[in-house]
Symmetry: D2
Subunit: 365 residues, 4 copies
């Protein structure tokens, strides 16, 4: 028997439960969990703000573990064997059908209706399909990625799900060499967006967020300047702060990673004429916002780009870039605190209160 | 002396005034106006809804005329001489500097701060710089385009400024072969968007608008189906109408050409996941709209694309395509009525009341 | 027992052989073949010019049939049931893994090493996996597409594999509204490229090819002008012919669909500065060509774009567009002659001699 | 009177000549030259390998100087005054008309037929229009860029014309986050391409070139690995070297910056299926190359992209990025040696012999 932290239903306390030790299906695998994370989505799950979640669930969608057993020989995309003992992460999305209109015609793979996600759309009665558990059961077809040499679980989990999400947002933005990029929000997604903006050729990155510890992290991750939105509550003043740093024109790219609906109006005021605005932080319904289509979109000739989820390619490339740049961008320092499985509820509360940047769960007994 | 219809100030009646017959500057030209138009912008000008307009003005930004005199030898882009007697139109935008940050770095030419537009940002005391006049004065550098063989002024003015605007909107949309395109609005811009959507590879075009005469025009221009928004005032029912025609998924592309702020929310409900939404109809400030960034942009992975003005290339290519397809798309039939210069006020009133699709001004005495 | 025409090995005569009547696997289906085709690839197969072909094979990669039996309930991408009696075609590619580096990271799906193609990379001892047979066995996962209402097998097979190939080539070209497109080659791929160029917004299409019957077909399909390359053997004169029709500048887009290596040099002479050149006709190794990188690529700022195979989306959208435009573009007239299964060898010879535009096989007894 | 080094005609020795001290035209300026460069183009000019050069000429197209006098008040793109004493560079291209088909319709600005370039298409009898002179005369409309704070002439000239050329090539390549980029050629353009590939998100950059000093520079500029093409003369072995470093697949992007025609065939062997190949090094006619369209382009689904010249935006953004990253990439170290004006011929010889990476000319007396 192994332990897992279970979220029984929205609002209820997280409980430790015991499950039978899993065995891999043919083509699948079982991981001994080394580290998982508590991300903003987990807070949303606890608040019941996502539709269609099959509570009770084992949260933890992006995780890191050691292969314990495989259901036959497995290999990664480069053909390297994935054998017991290997430290890996895995792409948390599975079930994307490759056979529906979204997959085949629109090529909008993150919108495939068959898509499922570990720790979010998987129920605890289906098995150990979340990272807040001593073991994770990888269904056949779930894609594992070995941690590159020199990368430790702490590095990878310092990025966590924000790594591929931030990369996807920046890819969607189409950063040009020399662009000025503004990031609204200094949580894990915003911080990773700040990193990938720089890796994509941004000349400068400006971050607006809170609290101070997150803004200090933004600076360490290369942001040229930061603005504490708690110290400056006036949206007009914040937009002015951006314009003062962009010859009055606004930024080439603004990435919304705040989770606050009002940020969208505010952010559009920061975009230059002909610029791009990526909305990646509205993962759950955070309410409505009043916009002026003439001022914010039409006359500005702006592109407002929604960015939903991420694909395997984002995780694959994000992981490789992390290995290459781990000294320049010290992702591991984003983990403010580690928690045992029994303290998952506390981790969730700290994340909700934003007293940590990233909260890591270490399920090992 | 020649006559021109002058809009003295917002709200005031249009007046006929006399001006000295103009002579061309070196590199410029004078046209004898054959036909000009009354477009939605002129109605906005009359309502005083555009900022920075130097009233009194001579309206009429897209026009057609015969070259009366040139200030030295002139040629079009293919090197063909532009000589007196030639029937031409001209690109109504001039003064784009080619030397500012927007022109040189951002390549957002329609946002150059030096850009000026005939009939909109030119005052009557600067000269005959609008089409509601017997003569039009073309400043040096204004680009003339000969009407292609077989194309008559009635054809071209049936397209009018909606031709390059509709083309630009569809170019911005990035229509893929086989796309379903929805157009919100059945005025000249919407109708031209419907045409260029088909020319760009759309499988089907659906148009929502009013009144009936415009929807009939939409059908004649190839729309597969139309919805009268006056007969169906419920936005949810309109979105449902689109979804019923798109396997429940929504359209690949939706073009807003309505001028109504609320249309933006409604239109976003019609876009498929991963689809594109072009905002071209909010040329003036038509108010605000409440959007849900999670539902309308982020989860939908939508691209919302503002489209401002048009460039020379859009007029050049639109004109050539019109010459090629004038039998398939009978633009000239969009002109509901022609007016003498003295009746410009009436033309404006008819346009405002939407009792005409396009109102043409014939300034010839 | 059912009959199939088998190509035993390169150079050997096509033979009629008897096979056991197939039954569908679960999730698969059996079709009664209505019509298949002989395309340029089949000629290459007969000449042994493709690597890795598991002779003996049953050729015929794009076909049309009636569902005889399914291995359980099946549906198309819009959820419509695929039941016995339904007239369908199918995407001839199967086995694309969705799990390798090409599929997941590069998103170069036509280069997945696991990709297999009916009638080309399938051996006769694996089953009835080619269209030159009374029955076709559809493996589980092979995607069927019902012929849209009003479309007959003759229409669809008039397009055949050239339909999705031509669409893919034009999509790759990125045709802009108003472009002039030149097509080198007047075989089925070239003719379909000419059609889709027009559907994508080309102002004009010019076709160079032979023999006369194919050029007449090109004209009927909307080509503005054609040049018989047998009548004009001088490559310089051919390029001049294009430049004379493009103000001396060359075409915006040139599509190579000739299968002749020398055409690539010739075609690059026809591209305007900053234009695009798509190479789709070099499906097999047709030899080498001498190019000048300075003249043909660098100074011209040209984009030379290889185009390999096609994806499901191209067939899906091509089929829908064909249904919409079958009166404007009469694909069915491209079928010069129909052959019984026993005459497949003759069909192949006629195709090789280019005495037909498209040769159709009707396997029904 | 001031001195300038003049190239009288191809093959003739460079001579020092005296010119009257220039005065600025209205809207123009005169610079006191601080530093100019000898680039590969100058070697080509000396060998007479460019068409249409109006010998005698004053070479030196990218330069750095101090404003001596302006013809009235001037400002840069951000509105900052350009006054005497200011250290600037300038965009060497002028005369782009903004009014022809290439400028307006095709938006292929580097192919405008009116485009002229300092030090290349300007004759010595037109004035001091090249950097190998004590003074440079800036015609009205020539765009000056102040050197950003902290950037010295040595930094900027270490990049020289390779800076905007390398940036343009990489922009043309469309580097994705995580790409592997191969650069063929280790001259100034290749080295700058290696830098901008990294700034654009490349995971790794591999450089093939010679001699050893240039490869060492490549390593210092961040190349992960380098191959000396003089030590490995076998093209097949070089392509293998790339494939061994890319899981056998080839690189996502290969940039040709070698100036050798044969490199194009070799480089295409290094590109992965679906990858991109940029040809930027064939600035002059370096001869022909035998390619296999099937193998190198069609089956590979490759994009081969010519890259001609650069635009203002590339210089503007390159300069800003250089200021930001001058510690990470030490451009100034690329200047192997400085020469007085009188030694320009020697500089040219050293550049031709590749005994220097960059040769800088210091015209100050």
């Amino acid at each position: 028997m192994v332990s897992a932290a279970v979220m029984p239903r929205p609002g209820a306390a997280v409980e430790l439960r015991r499950f039978p030790a899993p065995r891999p299906a043919p083509g699948g695998a079982v991981l001994e969990t080394v580290m998982s994370e508590v991300c903003g989505t987990d807070v949303h799950l606890h608040h019941g703000r996502l539709a269609g979640v099959p509570y009770p669930i084992i949260p933890g969608h992006v995780s890191c573990g050691r292969i314990l057993e495989t259901g036959g020989p497995l290999a990664d995309l480069d053909g390297r064997p994935l054998e017991p003992g290997r430290l890996v992460t895995f792409f948390d999305v599975f079930g994307t059908c490759g056979a529906c209109w979204h997959c085949l015609v629109a090529k909008a793979a993150t919108r495939c209706p068959h898509r499922r996600v570990y720790g979010i759309t998987t129920g605890a009665d289906e098995g150990l399909l979340g990272g807040w558990a001593e073991r994770i059961e990888l269904r056949p077809g779930v894609r594992m990625l070995p941690l590159p040499d020199g990368l430790e679980p702490e590095d990878f989990m310092g990025g966590g799900c924000g790594l591929p999400t931030g990369l996807h947002a920046i890819e969607r933005a189409g950063v040009a060499l020399g662009d000025t990029v503004v990031v609204q929000g200094s949580g894990p997604v915003g911080l990773n967006a700040a990193v990938f903006a720089q890796l994509s050729g941004a000349l400068r990155v400006l971050v607006l967020g809170a609290p101070a510890a997150r803004l200090e992290a933004a600076r360490r991750l290369g942001a040229e300047d930061v603005l504490d939105v708690e110290a400056e509550p006036d949206p007009a003043a914040r937009a002015r702060w951006v314009r003062e740093r962009t010859s009055g024109r606004g930024a080439d790219v603004v990435v919304e990673a705040s989770g606050v609906a009002a940020a969208v109006r505010e952010g559009l005021e920061m975009v230059r004429d002909g610029g791009r605005y990526v909305v990646v932080g509205q993962y759950t319904d955070a309410g409505e916002v009043l916009l002026n289509p003439h001022v914010h979109v039409n006359r500005r000739h702006a592109a407002v780009l929604g960015c939903w989820g991420f694909e395997y390619t984002h995780l694959h490339r994000g992981l490789a870039l992390m290995a290459r740049h781990r000294d320049r961008f010290r992702w591991r320092e984003l983990i403010s605190r580690e928690y045992r499985l029994a303290d998952a509820g506390r981790a969730l509360a700290d994340m909700a209160a934003r007293t940590v940047i990233k909260a890591a769960i270490r399920p090992a007994p």
